[in-house]
């Protein structure tokens, strides 16, 4: 075994030391692989970023209550009586004044121009009850103040403020016949609420002719385990026709469709590019083997086995691919990580602001792609190297 490893190390060392003589082809192959990795990481970082926004939005000890049969707030509807019964359910957390932490909310979509393109896009406008801030628990004013109940005032999520124009504090947003004054900008732990505009539900209801109805109740539970007590009480109440989901599950479901779509595109593009990069790697390794035919034959003539030759060619190819992979991953990380944008959340028909996220897992995935290209690109040249007819190759000049 040791003997076999010394053979591999001697041949690999000799291979790698001749790389500078083949630097053109070697660099081309490595750059090709770097390109694949950059595209893969770039596109998948969109999915990661979007997924993360929705993942951090959900807490297992917050329940979202919708009308039975609804999958999203958009097509849900709850009466005032429904919301009151929900707020009285067991398992709900209460504040210092012993009031239930349940926020009955309205969800509408308005049009605002994007800062980047100037084109209109859908932005969620959420009417919330006073308990909403305690239910979310992670809201923090970055600028200005909270809206005052009963007034046409809004606060804007940091992501929405960044992506859409006209949402600076002090500006007025006109929607239909109503004008809303922006009085604050808030953060929500990087979650989906940062893409929303919030106002008092009691003001939003008449503005949108909703009467005394709502679309969802966000309820803070005593603990994550209290969810079953809470849902059981609601679903067995004959006065109610509702469904309750954990907030964490609700957002995880919302991310599935878009994340699956983006990942599909990313992997398809990267796979097509990988085919190109594979030919680059094949070309480099074939020329490497061709340039070293006599050397390989000499080693074989001295008694070196064919398997160390195969492994050493594969190692050279792998080294090139990994160099390209690291280069591409670093480039993608520098270019994409933290880049902010927004996209349509098809479940709410509104924009979600998010940042591209180049996670360590994504980088590992990309390096594995590079390694796979390297091994496949080196395989056939390695086999050719092992099959070189020794006697004829020894005389090559």
């Amino acid at each position: 075994m040791l003997n076999w490893l010394s053979q591999i190390s001697a041949i690999t060392l000799a291979n790698l030391k001749t790389l500078p003589e083949r630097r053109g082809a070697a660099v081309a192959a490595a750059v090709g692989i770097a390109g694949v990795v950059t595209v893969l990481v770039g596109v998948l970082s969109i999915a990661e970023g979007f997924q993360r926004v929705l993942a951090v939005s959900g807490s297992p000890d917050v329940a979202i209550v919708l009308r039975s049969g609804s999958d999203a707030e958009m097509n849900s509807g709850l009466t005032h009586d429904d919301t009151r019964l929900i707020a009285d359910a067991p398992g709900l957390a209460r504040n210092a004044a012993n009031l239930p932490l349940a926020s009955a909310e309205l969800f509408v979509v308005i049009n605002l121009p994007k800062r980047s393109t100037g084109t209109d896009a859908n932005v969620p406008l959420r009417g919330v009850s006073p308990a909403a801030f305690d239910v979310r628990g992670n809201l923090m004013m970055l600028e200005g103040r909270r809206f005052e109940p009963g007034k046409n005032e809004v606060i804007v999520g940091a992501g929405a403020a960044r992506q859409f124009s006209g949402l600076d504090v002090g500006k007025t947003v006109r929607v239909g016949q109503t004008e809303w004054v922006v009085v604050g900008v808030f953060a929500a732990g990087g979650g989906v609420a940062e893409s929303e505009i919030w106002t008092d539900a009691a003001v939003l209801q008449p503005a949108y002719h909703r009467g005394d109805t709502y679309q969802a109740v966000y309820a803070k539970l005593i603990s994550a385990e209290a969810f079953h007590t809470f849902t059981d009480a609601l679903t067995t109440n004959p006065q109610l026709s509702i469904k309750a989901v954990r907030q964490s599950d609700f957002y995880a479901d919302q991310s599935t469709q878009l994340v699956g779509f983006v990942k599909g595109i990313g992997i398809t593009i990267a796979a097509l590019m990988a085919v190109g990069a594979l030919f680059g790697a094949l070309n480099t390794m074939y020329s490497s083997v061709a340039a070293r035919t006599r050397e390989i034959a000499t080693l074989r003539a001295l008694g070196f086995g064919s398997s160390p030759v195969v492994v050493s060619v594969l190692l050279e190819s792998l080294a090139l691919a990994l160099a390209g992979g690291v280069l591409g991953a670093a480039g993608a990380w520098l270019a994409f990580d933290g880049h902010t944008t927004s996209t349509m959340n098809w479940q709410t028909f509104s924009q979600v602001a998010f940042a591209f996220r180049v996670s360590p897992a994504l980088l590992v995935q990309a390096i594995l792609w590079a390694a796979m290209i390297g091994v496949l690109g080196g395989l056939f040249p390695a086999i050719r190297a092992a099959r070189i007819p020794i006697a004829a190759a020894l005389r090559e000049t």
Binding site: A10, T18, L302, G303
Partner: protein, 232 residues
């Protein structure tokens, strides 16, 4: 490899044919040859006569189409590729016309290569390499790369590599073919020394009558057969 009195090499009725498209080329035709242990044999003949092919068969680098190749009592034509590689590493030293050194390795590392196939420790390998380089007179050039050495010096490194495992048989394919007369003479003297003082059996392919005159016996090949001028 047994060597006492019995012939080291017995080649019996060997044919070697190659195919080039539809054409079949018979390079060796029923050749038989015996070489005693400790001989320094020169193989001469015109281009295409089969000298190098014969050398390749003796080195286990190629296989006969028909006939047997027995060296040290072992039928090497019957060995698998894997066992043949191991056999070469243990019993044969190869010297090439164009030296075939690895340009990215120093003289010392080039000479060490065959020892990587043994179980010697690094320290023992270094000792063997130093001895081999001293025998060929290059003890002072160990850290030089092939490009920093003259043709004669490169061939000395090639010979050091061939003898570092102390093989019984040295196969030399035109060892002076790429050298000037002076360097060539030095290499031939070195081979003679290895033959006389260390008892190496040497088979040398050459075109050069001057080179063959340094051998203890010369055989001529023509059209794949030993010519009448030089019986086996």
């Amino acid at each position: 490899m047994t060597t006492d009195q019995s012939p080291l090499i017995r080649i019996a009725d060997v044919d070697k044919t190659y195919r080039r498209g539809a054409e079949e080329i018979r390079v060796l035709a029923g050749l038989s040859l015996t070489v005693q242990c400790g001989e320094f044999l020169a193989l001469m003949g015109p281009s295409g006569s089969g000298k190098s092919t014969l050398l390749n068969l003796l080195g286990g680098l190629d296989r006969p189409t028909r006939g047997t190749v027995e060296i040290g009592g072992e039928r090497i034509d019957a060995l698998s590729d894997r066992r043949l590689a191991g056999w070469r590493a243990r019993h044969v030293g190869l010297v090439f016309q164009f030296y075939n050194l690895l340009p990215v390795m120093t003289a010392e590392r080039n000479v060490e290569l065959p020892l990587l196939l043994t179980h010697l420790s690094k320290a023992d390998r270094r000792k063997h390499v130093a001895t081999a380089l001293a025998i060929v007179g290059l003890a002072h050039r160990t850290s030089h790369y092939p490009r920093q050495l003259s043709g004669g010096e490169q061939q000395r490194v090639g010979i050091a590599r061939a003898i570092v495992t102390d093989p019984t048989l040295l196969l030399c394919d035109e060892p002076t073919g790429d050298l000037d007369r002076k360097s060539g003479d030095e290499i031939l003297s070195l081979l003679q020394t290895l033959n006389r003082e260390q008892g190496k059996t040497i088979i040398m392919v050459t075109h050069d009558p001057h080179a063959s005159s340094r051998a203890s016996r010369t055989v001529h090949l023509d059209k794949g057969q030993l010519s009448a001028a030089a019986p086996a």
